[in-house]
């Protein structure tokens, strides 16, 4: 059963990760300037990002509303910039 973004937002980080693991589709990831990595998922027609700390290897933040600039970066990486407007 699909979850809306509002419902998804009600859960804590650990739970969001659990939901992403079985409901989300991993798209790609990129390494940020601080060395941490940002992973992009799609779930129920929405983009979701998960920030992983390189130091601990754990996900430290999950955002269901993705910054447009970040989305451009992912699009460029995927060579899909033309589709994102």
């Amino acid at each position: 059963m699909e979850l809306t973004l509002a419902e998804f937002a009600c859960f804590n980080l650990k739970s969001k990760q659990q939901i992403l693991n079985y409901k989300g589709n991993y798209v790609c990831s990129m390494v940020l300037s601080d060395g941490n990595s940002l992973m992009l998922y799609t779930m129920n027609g929405n983009f979701i990002t998960a920030l992983k700390s390189t130091k601990t290897g754990e996900v430290v933040q999950i955002d269901s509303v993705v910054n447009k600039d970040i989305l451009y970066l992912f699009a460029e990486k995927l060579d899909l910039a033309g589709f994102v407007n």
Binding site: F11, K14, S15
Partner: protein, 816 residues
């Protein structure tokens, strides 16, 4: 006691059915557990029936502590705590004192033993107890022990604070302390007690005290996992908490938490099981110490949060899949209503086969009509496991409802929940599409039914042939007193060829809930009615037949292919009447022969079998003289009849009265009232005068009037009257009136029964029905007593629980 046997039989049948269906009395087949799966019936299943909500049973620290304690102290330390306790007890109680913010704690082997230790000691002889209707049976069991000491034990509707306050006000002038006993989290529906409101009452009323069983709340809620009650409000100085260590705490054992040192000392020294029962054993104590340390560390909050996330996710899924959840709460106990045991059984059978183990919430834990799928969520469940289970549950739920042609609105009705809009729309479509080969005809009056056809169903069965019912309708409608008005509903189910498969009738009326109780209980209830009003402990009941008819009220053609479907139509019809008249119960009655198939059929449709009073009849009137008749009786009965009836016969003159005058009928009514006043065996409302007036002038009724030949009294009025109904070759003695001032010298009651036998013989009848009660008197006249039973479905058990409480008190007082 007869009904207690029925109760055991009903529970036994439910348990056996569940066991046969492979959903109860199960055993795991695993050599070792690995997380939250268990193997049942050769199927690996995710366990949704565990109360170990935090999953601590697999915590290495707790397991090792148990092993370590056993290595050090052996498998048991076999001594009563009254003599000596293992040192681990002291360590454990120190830790619990910290968990419970310095309050006094006593560890007991189980919560049930904790209640048995605490309740009889805390509640004094001049105290009173009020139980919540749904408080756990272990608390009710301990409270029942108080009744042996004559302690007043009362009951309120579940979580009804208004009623609680009313009771406190009522009892406070009569008793020293008033104890309210409730659960923190209720084990079936998972809802919680309104702790803050209870505390407000504790502050308001000095004499008011609170005893709460927080077994399901411990560890899951509150600072250091001190439980739901402590989470809601700090410990109250007049509150005692009992918690279980055999659920989320994961070690076995229990703890009593007292606000005062005196209470602790009293229970420690005098509580029965604290003296005579064995202690918690070293393995459990070691484990409990380790678990308590986890509770005192910040780790407990992570565990609670994990569980809370799972609870949140489960609620969300249940909502999304549109399942009827009873009480949406934050507790790990969930209950999806299905109403009928047969629906619940099928859903769970499917779930178990699909690899999900859940519990059937069924009678006696909940009323039979409020059966449901009860499941629990633990920290060990993954979201994926939860969603897969809920998805399968929803699929099985909908599939089973379709297979059983059972509409979801019946479930919402059974639990008194509003129907969601989308379900309502769906049901409307389904009901429009529904087609059946059976045709259900319903009528609001016997006048709308063909007399010959009705009589072909019921002639000679009793006073409910067409004429008999017309008289009842005339009597029990359009009366000023609403208690004397009944609703009449008739049902005929036919097949596609118009052939009748089933016929019966129902009356809906206000009835006394103690109607079937022993006289001593009705006596006590009648005393209460004097104070509370005549409708106290009464409720509307949809009754097959009526309160004034007796016999087989159901015509069913069991050779017909669709007889069971016809019965289901009847169940639907009676359920509609229940809603239409806002009644509380449905009773199908006067079934004579034991029929396992029928029992099962009724039970699957939410009815509990209940024993009814024996009904009496005399069959065979081929004897010629009185002497020949006497030879048919036992020697003892013969002596009785000769000495008490035949010896007095010559004093009497018996007349069949026709065209009685108003004053005569008034006198008969007075005689009836004397009998009514003296008999509570079948406690009904007093019949109206109008009934006797109608009987006196009815074609099929006969009034036998007994007068004394040489009556020396001034008024010389008749001393007994008996109203008999003629239907074909059957004669039914229905009402009797007696002048009890003549009882010692002339025994008019016995004479009236005897005269009815003679009259039945004179009329050439084959059978004389003598109705219920007065078993011995009727047996002595050669009547056969027929055991009868009924099937009952009750929406709200509160009144019966109150009467049950009175019954227990009476029984105990009698035993003492």
């Amino acid at each position: 006691m007869k009904n207690y046997h029925s109760f055991v039989q009903s529970v036994y049948q439910i348990a056996q059915d569940a066991s046969r269906n492979g959903i109860a009395h199960l055993s795991t087949q695993d050599n070792r557990f690995n997380g939250n799966t268990i193997t049942l019936n050769n199927t690996k299943s995710t366990n949704f029936g565990s109360c170990s909500y935090l999953g601590l049973e697999f915590d290495e620290r707790i397991k090792n502590a148990a092993i370590d304690a056993i290595q050090k102290y052996g498998t048991q330390f076999s001594s009563s705590r009254a003599y000596v306790s293992l040192g681990l007890y002291e360590e454990l109680e120190d830790l619990f004192r910290k968990i419970f913010r310095g309050n006094h704690v006593l560890v007991t082997p189980t919560t049930t033993l904790g209640h048995i230790a605490a309740i009889p000691v805390l509640v004094k002889d001049d105290d009173a107890v009020i139980l919540d209707h749904q408080v756990h049976s272990s608390v009710q069991g301990a409270a029942n022990m108080l009744k042996a000491r004559g302690i007043h034990v009362d009951m309120i509707r579940h979580n009804n604070m208004e009623m609680l306050e009313k009771k406190i006000v009522e009892l406070k002038s009569k008793y020293k302390n008033i104890w309210y006993m409730a659960d923190g989290i209720y084990s079936m529906y998972g809802d919680g007690a309104p702790i803050k409101e209870i505390h407000a009452l504790l502050d308001k009323y000095e004499q008011f005290n609170f005893y709460v069983d927080d077994a399901h709340g411990m560890s899951c809620f509150g600072e250091n996992g001190a439980g739901f009650v402590m989470q809601q409000a700090p410990m109250h100085p007049k509150q005692v908490i009992a918690i279980s260590l055999a659920k989320a705490f994961a070690t076995g054992g229990a703890v009593l938490v007292f606000p005062t040192w005196e209470q602790y000392q009293l229970v420690r020294s005098c509580g029965g099981p604290m003296i005579t029962s064995g202690p918690m054993q070293p393995g459990n104590l070691g484990a409990a110490v380790a678990s308590a340390k986890i509770h005192l560390s910040p780790e407990i909050y992570n565990l609670q949060e994990d569980l809370n996330e799972n609870i949140k996710f489960t609620s969300l899924m249940l909502h999304k899949y549109g399942l009827p959840v009873i009480h949406e709460t934050d507790s790990p106990v969930f209950f999806v209503g299905v109403s009928l045991p047969k629906i619940g059984n099928q859903i769970i059978q499917k779930l178990v086969k699909q690899g999900f183990y859940v519990n059937l919430g069924v009678y006696p834990a909940v009323p039979l009509k409020n059966t449901g799928i009860r499941f629990t969520i633990t920290r060990l469940h993954s979201f994926q496991q939860i969603e897969e289970m809920v998805k399968q549950l929803a699929f099985n739920f909908n599939e089973t409802l379709v297979q059983e042609d059972f509409h979801i609105n019946k479930i919402y009705n059974a639990f008194r929940m509003p129907l969601p809009e989308e379900v309502m729309a769906d049901q409307k479509v389904k009901s429009l599409m529904a087609k059946s080969n059976l045709k259900v005809e319903s009528y609001a009056s016997i006048n709308q039914i063909d007399k010959d056809e009705w009589d072909s169903f019921f002639k000679e069965r009793g006073s409910f042939d067409w004429d008999g019912l017309q008289l009842l309708e005339q009597t029990f409608t359009k009366n000023e007193n609403p208690i004397q008005n009944w609703e009449f509903d008739y049902l005929i189910v036919r097949d596609e060829y118009h052939k009748p498969v089933l016929a019966t009738f129902f009356t809906t009326a206000l009835s006394k809930d103690d109607m079937m109780s022993p006289s001593a209980i009705s006596e006590a209830v009648e005393e209460m009615r004097k104070k509370e009003g005549e409708t106290y402990l009464t409720s509307k009941s949809v009754l097959m037949g009526s309160m004034l008819t007796e016999g087989e009220h159901l015509y069913i053609d069991k050779s017909h292919y669709h007889w069971q479907a016809a019965m289901e139509c009847m169940f639907d019809f009676s359920s509609q009447l229940l809603d239409l008249y806002d009644a509380n119960s449905i009773m199908y009655r006067d079934f004579k022969n034991s029929d396992e198939k029928l029992d099962k059929f009724f039970m699957e449709n939410g009815f509990i079998k209940t024993d009814l009073p024996d009904c009496h009849s005399i069959e065979g009137f081929s004897w010629g003289t009185t002497e020949e008749w006497l030879k048919l009786l036992s020697p003892k009965s013969r002596r009785h009849v000769r000495g008490n009836i035949l010896k007095k016969e010559s004093f009497y003159e018996t007349n069949v009265v026709k065209n009685a005058t108003q004053s005569k009928i008034e006198h008969w009514y007075e005689l009836y009232l004397q009998v009514k006043k003296n008999s509570l065996a079948l406690n009904t409302f007093t019949m109206p005068f109008k009934l006797f007036k109608n009987l006196a002038n009815a074609r099929n009724w006969e009034v036998l009037e007994l007068s004394l030949k040489n009556d020396e009294r001034l008024n010389k009025k008749p001393v007994a009257v008996i109203f008999n109904y003629k239907s074909g070759n059957s004669y039914s003695a229905m009402f009797i009136g007696v002048d009890y001032s003549m009882q010692a010298d002339f025994m008019p009651y016995r004479q009236a029964l005897y005269q009815s036998i003679l009259r039945a013989k004179e009329l050439g009848m084959d059978k004389l029905n003598l109705g219920f009660t007065a078993d011995l008197e009727k047996k002595r006249l050669g009547s056969i007593s027929n055991a009868t039973h009924g099937y009952v479905q009750i929406k709200d058990h509160y009144n019966l629980s109150v009467i049950g409480n009175i019954a227990k008190t009476k029984r105990i007082k009698k035993a003492v």
